[in-house]
């Protein structure tokens, strides 16, 4: 009896010692998060790479076929168009988001009444689920009933309705606009926070030294805000490159595959189409950009340290 009580006491002491050991406790506390990420993030990530090398169909285990998927994709003209479009979409949208987002941040970088309210309003496009705002754009871009066409015609600037989604170029522009609309708040709020950390006395000193407002912007604001801008842009780039919702809801990749992104093409080939292997191979083309973005943001984050 005495021996068991002693043993229990010893065990309890050893246990509480372990819990004090920060290495043990650390591992223990991280475990649940790591488990979820391992099973549902890391493993699928690797599995996706593998699937690209197989001919898996939905419901049927596939065989290893080497680079066959990739080879056939590279011969597929649709694939090349999609590649072109994804890059176009990403580059143009991110540039506009960055420029407009930054412009709005500068406009908002001052003290004014209702500052909180305005900030809250500005964030709305980012908050509302993308698919829901996509529905609105879908309706606004309707070739017959678009309010945009109506306004422009009534103002005498146009003579016939715009075919927003039926013409490839128009469709691309329409989607980019919708993407920019959604993305501006992210840039604005992030950059605004950065702008507000810049010590105002820096500007005052520069003004006394004779620098005009453009000079002050170029020599003080830009260099200080650059790292933050780099990080935000990197995030936006990878998310835009891997976009899905907006395009799928509004055009489903059409017309004639003109607005497909890697994500939507992959979905189309894999889910309704059933070609898991091929779909995975398409998705994997997002990887190089992902890696590049990770490296760039890593570099800038380190520099912030």
């Amino acid at each position: 009896m005495q021996a068991t009580i002693e043993k229990r006491g010893w065990l309890r002491e050893k246990f509480s010692d372990l819990m004090e050991n920060r290495h043990f406790l650390g591992f223990l506390l991280v475990a649940p998060a790591e488990a979820i990420l391992l099973i549902f993030l890391a493993y699928p990530f690797v599995l996706g790479l593998w699937l690209g090398f197989t001919d898996t169909l939905v419901g049927r285990k596939g065989d290893f076929i080497g680079f066959a998927n990739y080879a056939s994709l590279l011969k597929d003209s649709t694939f090349w168009m999609v590649t072109y479009n994804t890059f176009l979409y990403t580059i143009v949208a991110v540039i506009f988001k960055a420029a407009l987002g930054f412009a709005l941040a500068i406009v908002l970088n001052r003290d004014f009444k209702a500052k909180g309210l305005v900030r809250a309003i500005i964030l709305l496009p980012w908050i509302i689920p993308t698919a829901l705002s996509a529905i609105v754009f879908w309706w606004l871009y309707d070739s017959t009933f678009s309010a945009i066409s109506w306004t422009l015609i009534k103002a005498g600037l146009l003579h016939h309705k715009i075919d927003f989604l039926g013409d490839p170029t128009n469709a691309r522009i329409s989607l980019i606009v919708a993407n920019v609309w959604r993305g501006i708040p992210f840039f604005t709020i992030g950059l605004l926070a950065g702008l507000q950390t810049i010590d105002p006395t820096l500007y005052e000193a520069a003004a006394i030294d004779g620098a005009g407002s453009w000079k002050r912007f170029r020599r003080i604001t830009l260099p200080i805000i650059l790292p933050l801008m780099a990080v935000i842009t990197t995030f936006s780039t990878i998310w835009t490159f891997g976009d899905f919702q907006l395009v799928w809801v509004i055009t489903k990749g059409g017309p004639a595959n003109a607005t497909h992104l890697f994500g939507t093409l992959s979905f189309q080939r894999a889910i309704p189409g059933g070609h898991f292997g091929e779909g995975a191979a398409i998705s994997n083309f997002i990887l190089p950009i992902l890696v590049a973005c990770v490296l760039i943001s890593f570099k800038y984050l380190r520099r912030e340290d």
């Binding site: 699928p44 699937l51 908050i127 689920p129 705002s133 926070a193 799928w248 990887l287």
Partner: protein, 278 residues
């Protein structure tokens, strides 16, 4: 630096007005369209910016001829559960990485952070096979388990920032006072972090509502769909787009997120900027 009245108009009021109109117009349009009867929507002669004969017919259609309520319930279900799972695991992980600084805590933190950057479009196909193998196909539980993959990285990141702001001395003092590490976590750290926890929770909730691809792929039965999916897939019958109910649905489905956001916007912005500062 003084500004004349006209300078102010040019540099502030005008650009601000333009931006606000641009950013808020679609919401107005959502609202506008939901109150218009079908006849008016398709009448090209009318000025679309006015609501000539407002009606609640779209609302009726949405609420009674579709299972909109069911979809909303599903979306809440998934959002609340996945937020709960993510918050709790992130809290523990963030504390471990930021405070305990155990071996490999640096790399672990980085890996978790970069997990946030991986877009779902890379993962949805392999995840589909995994979900199928786990027999979670067509079940909302698949989303409950998968959503934390993008919620946890962000929440962990945000909470790590909050932990950084708590002085180390406070924990050391509590340890000398006799508290075990877990007690310190429970009695000192968490109460001081409540704003951060709050921000993370709100962020997770809105991110969960925003998810689309996984919900589209993993769920096929109409009754199990989430609101955005349901609206987009079920309100287009054949070639007919039911714009009225669609807009109403979009409006109503935006409400929970907008409400949560409007009550807690200060926390949300703090969370976003705090995370970016990291």
């Amino acid at each position: 630096m003084h500004e004349s009245f006209w300078q102010k108009i040019l540099k502030f009021y005008l650009p601000l007005a333009l931006f606000i109109i641009f950013l808020l117009f679609p919401f107005y349009w959502m609202f506008n369209t939901s109150l218009k009867p079908m006849k008016e929507l398709y009448n090209l002669k009318l000025n679309p910016f006015y609501i000539h004969s407002p009606t609640l017919a779209n609302v009726k259609t949405l609420l009674f001829e579709t299972i909109f309520f069911r979809w909303m319930f599903n979306t809440f279900f998934v959002a609340i559960l996945s937020t709960a799972i993510s918050l709790s695991t992130s809290l523990l992980a963030a504390y471990a990485i930021q405070r305990l600084k155990f071996k490999t805590s640096g790399p672990t933190g980085l890996i978790i952070f970069f997990g946030y950057l991986i877009p779902p479009t890379i993962l949805f196909i392999p995840l589909a096979t995994i979900i199928f193998d786990l027999k979670l196909w067509d079940s909302l539980w698949s989303l409950v388990f998968v959503y934390p993959t993008f919620l946890i990285p962000f929440c962990t990141w945000l909470l790590m920032g909050y932990f950084k702001s708590i002085p180390k001395e406070m924990e050391e003092c509590a340890m000398i006072d006799g508290a075990s590490r877990l007690r310190v976590f429970w009695r000192i750290i968490i109460p001081l972090c409540l704003p951060g926890i709050f921000s993370a929770g709100i962020f997770a909730f809105t991110l969960s509502w925003n998810e689309f691809l996984y919900a589209l792929v993993f769920i096929s039965t109409t009754e199990s769909k989430t609101a955005p999916i349901g609206l987009v897939t079920e309100l287009v019958r054949g070639d007919v787009y039911h714009w009225g109910p669609l807009m109403t649905g979009a409006l109503f489905a935006s409400v929970p997120v907008a409400l949560v956001y409007s009550f807690f916007v200060e926390h949300y912005v703090a969370g976003l900027t705090g995370a970016l500062k990291e």
